[in-house]
Amino acid sequence: MNNAVDPREELPEHLPALRAFAMSLSGNSATADDIVQDTIVKAWSNFDKFEPGTNLRAWLFTILRNTFYSHTRKRKREVADPDGIHAGQLSAKPGHDGRLAFNDFRVAFAELSAEHREVLILVGASGFSYEDVADMTGVAVGTVKSRANRARARLCELLGLDEGEDPVAETDGETLAVLAASGGSTV
């Protein structure tokens, strides 16, 4: 090790993000915890391959997603059993007030393929750039963009929204505020 901060010491602060990413991928907290556990062990024994000064979180997320996909191949049935969310529960159409309810959103999100959940969480929620995500997932930047677009389109489809059909167009600013609030912004 040179005199850069030892990534082993930084690992604990990445645990919540690793767990959140694992939850997003698996939809199942028991599976998520197993994946995080394996990720920690793998990362620990490979820290000599980590390049100090590069993005540790991206490095850890890469290990985590590889772990997830090998778990999925091994244990298909368990992964396909998300916590408390069941297929077919979704009454997709937003009300005629156009409200995009968070609960419907969660159910629709859980229905997406792991690949689509992954790209949306990485690009849309965890603050990585398209370039980071391309590196992490081992595909071209253009592929990340088109995958993210397809994932959004599929999500809209599950929610009964057409892209191009604005769920708030027919309503007023009040609904928009509700939507913003349901999206977790600090209003």
Partner: protein, 48 residues
């Protein structure tokens, strides 16, 4: 009509909801098993 703007609005709503999905998982308490695991790994390391 103003479809580009509408799509941008929809997209930002989707992103807000995605952030909320992620944020809720992020706020869950990290199980003790991970702190214990890290402790074990550290001890193993120091015995080397």
């Amino acid at each position: 009509m103003n479809q580009g703007k509408d799509n941008a609005k929809l997209r930002s709503q989707i992103d807000q909801n995605l952030k909320r999905v992620y944020q809720e998982a992020l706020e869950e308490e990290v199980p003790d098993r991970f702190k214990e695991l890290l402790e074990q790994l550290r001890q193993k390391e120091s015995r080397k």
